[in-house]
């Protein structure tokens, strides 16, 4: 018997539409799960060398994670923030808590230095010894509820915890050399931090421990002898929130190779699993169980935003349809996962399709987890333009990613209604109305489709066999577009196949695409350009982390 042909990866023209990117879900390759699996496998140890927080909740704490070769320490500062100062935006200037991830174990002098800088965030400076800089604000209602309950000797109400999901949400986590921190190159060769955003994910993991300890401390201050210890089974459901504005959208446009590598790894994983001819009873049982657990997670997913309310309604309909399919299907034979994905293409919304695409990977860690090794961008050479490439080839490459955009009237108001810019106010990234606001002169290069159409037109009269270097001498204004076109040779999933400056663009789609790879759940848009999410809800705390619970924590399981 011959093996059935390997199923190809999905077409970038399908995958890279904004509506689909805005429906992506976490999967086995997500960065948080990569980290927790590794820490368990390598028996990392954790300690809390300092917790010096006073009765008003002000002070500092240090949490150290020790891996096989390196230690990493979260240095946390707790502050007393007045309610009117509490803002999740970049323009905020004070926070409930601020953090740095220190590379190693900090000395007293390091902590003293950090105490003068970390609370200032962007207005301070960190050093090459720090790997990230971040801050978090309380979820005011849940914080008060948990403190009050514990102080009065009661456990918090689980429904409230499911509804909010976290006690604090980070409002920025800066890495890679920002504000003086170490460049990524410092840690890119270490196994534990070679993957994307592993230092940032570790910082958030340790932040969650600090927040749990801080809420306990405040309850003891308030309740004294009456206060009780937070039940670990309840603490488990407390994740860390994240509140994200427009900064993430430029990131995925400005890093086409990195973004390609994330999408490509997931698409390759999906293709591998779809190509499986027969599934064992054990694999099928595992899939069915994970599906049931993911339904529980979706049932806790709340949003007040009309767009997400509609998507959630569709997703819930999808879940019923999937259940019906699974009731009838024999998932053991005839490329069962491929059958499932093909059925989903016509039967489900994009939310449901992408949830299923992530879920079918779960029984196949041995087959797909190694793909995580290809998710970083180590291809610095791809930035260098090859000037010998002929004009005709560049034309073909532009057509490959942007054929749909070439005939669009890019002067029509609806196609270029928006412009991305950076405000001089704390350099906050923003999106504005090109025809109503004086922002066009400050536009950032975040409309690759429009720019590709302009370059394509400028190339029209150039012979196919002319080296592109000659064109660039006359048209340096198209240099960034030619560079992107060449990158698309090695990065087929590097370009978004939609108009990022149209009147209809939803930046939250771009934010969600990035956050889904972090492993985020419960996307809750606050507007078309702002989203809150939950991280690490259900994850084991360091003292409980084992190989058995390091991976599937993202799918909740109610204690029986």
């Amino acid at each position: 018997m011959t093996n059935p042909p390997h199923i190809a990866r999905r077409d970038p023209a399908t995958v890279m539409r904004l509506s689909r990117l805005g429906a992506l879900h976490q999967c086995r390759l997500s960065f948080m799960r990569q980290l927790t699996r590794r820490m368990a496998r390598e028996n990392w140890t954790f300690s809390r060398p300092a917790f010096e927080i006073d009765e008003t909740g002000v002070g500092h704490a240090v949490y150290t994670a020790q891996g096989p070769n390196h230690a990493y320490s979260l240095v946390a500062f707790a502050h007393d923030l007045s309610p009117e100062q509490r803002s999740d935006r970049v323009i905020a200037e004070a926070w409930d808590a601020t953090f740095a991830l220190f590379d190693g174990i900090p000395s007293a002098a390091d902590i003293q230095r950090l105490s003068q800088n970390v609370p200032l965030q962007e207005a301070g400076r960190v050093s090459e010894a720090e790997l990230s800089l971040s801050r978090a604000n309380r979820s005011v209602r849940l914080w008060a509820h948990v403190v009050d309950r514990l102080a009065s000797g009661q456990q918090p109400d689980l429904d409230q915890i499911y509804k909010v999901g976290y006690l604090m949400r980070t409002t920025a986590v800066y890495g890679s050399g920002k504000f003086g921190a170490a460049d990524r190159e410092k840690i890119a060769d270490r196994p534990e931090t070679s993957g994307p955003f592993q230092a940032e994910m570790l910082s958030v993991y340790l932040t969650r421990v600090f927040v749990r300890d801080l809420v306990q401390h405040m309850a003891r201050v308030k309740g004294g002898g009456q206060a009780v210890q937070l039940d670990p089974e309840i603490a488990k459901w407390l994740g860390i929130g994240n509140s994200t504005g427009l900064g993430m959208a430029p990131f995925i446009v400005n890093h086409p190779i990195l973004f390609n590598n994330w999408i490509m790894a997931r698409e390759e994983a999906i293709a591998k699993v779809r190509s499986i001819d027969k599934a064992t009873a054990g694999e099928v049982a595992q899939f069915r169980q994970i599906f049931e657990r993911s339904k529980l997670s979706v049932s806790w997913w709340r949003s007040e935003h009309p767009i997400q309310i509609e998507k959630l309604a569709a997703l819930n309909t999808d879940l019923c349809a999937i259940s019906e399919y699974l009731d009838q299907a024999d998932l053991t034979k005839n490329q069962p996962w491929n059958q499932l994905i093909l059925w989903a293409q016509n039967a489900l919304s994009e939310e449901g399709q992408e949830l299923l695409a992530s879920l079918i990977l779960e029984p196949y860690g041995e087959l797909v987890d190694d793909l995580a090794g290809g998710m970083a961008d180590s291809n610095a050479g791809a930035q260098v333009i090859d000037g010998a490439i002929p004009v005709g080839k560049v034309r073909d490459l532009i057509r490959g990613s942007f054929n749909w955009a070439l005939d669009l009237n890019w002067n029509a108001a609806e196609h270029c209604a928006r412009a991305w810019y950076v405000s001089e106010e704390k350099l906050e990234p923003r999106l504005g109305e090109r025809f109503d606001e004086p922002i066009a002169d400050y536009e950032q290069p975040l409309a690759p489709a429009r720019d590709a159409a302009l370059a394509f037109r400028a190339l029209a009269d150039w012979p196919d066999d002319t080296p592109i270097a000659e064109f660039l001498l006359r048209h340096p204004e198209h240099r960034h577009t030619v560079r992107r076109a060449q990158m698309s040779c090695v990065a087929p999933y590097g370009e978004i196949r939609d108009n990022t400056i149209s009147a209809e663009v939803l930046p939250i789609d771009m934010l969600r695409a990035k956050l889904s790879f972090f492993g985020a759940t419960h996307f809750d848009p606050r507007s078309d350009r702002w989203v809150r999410i939950c991280m690490y809800s259900g994850a084991p705390y360091p003292e409980d982390l084992t190989d058995q619970n390091a991976d599937l924590w993202v799918y909740p399981e109610l204690a029986s």
Binding site: E84, R86, K178, G387, E424, E437, Y442, T481, W530
Partner: protein, 209 residues
Amino acid sequence: MSYSLNEVEATAKRATRGAGYGWGMAEESGRATRWLCAQGLDGASELVRVLERGFAGSVADHMPSGGNTDWTGARDLCPLMTGAALSDWSDLLRAGPIRIERLARPMILIPFAAFAARCLNTVVTVRSGDFSAATDGAQLAIENECPAVAAQVLVTAGGSLTNPSALQSRATPDPAAWDMLNRFAHRTYAPATEESRLLGAGAGLSDND
């Protein structure tokens, strides 16, 4: 003060855009400035001196002719434009040297010679008078003082990399130059307006919940 190389690259890119170059050239400039700083040179000062020349206002006058191996322009050549062309035309170096006339701030050309060296997988040497710089793409060996404007520069594939300087993971640019770069960069930031503050980031809802 010490800066990360990522900060150098980001600031140089914005500054170059602020000085009127296109985004693609700004990207080249960011990478070039970072590369110089990684060699322990003050890339920020070099870049400021280029941006202060205002070449971007009359690009055509400061672009090399290209295509052959003798590069001249109507006026002093811009080292960013010339550097990008050198990187693009690095193939030409296989056949023989490239001669460049009247090049401003030749130090800025060297990172582009490094990008060419990486593509060709060989050492590339930049000479002007008694100044010479040899690079294999990663490391650099310099002899004598680099002139502010070079009457003639010769770029060749080949040469030897003796006593290359140690690579640096941080940059310590001249504070005045760093300040100037930030002033150029500031031109790319939209002025703060109330409308922009309210609408641009999509806030408006209270975060105090």
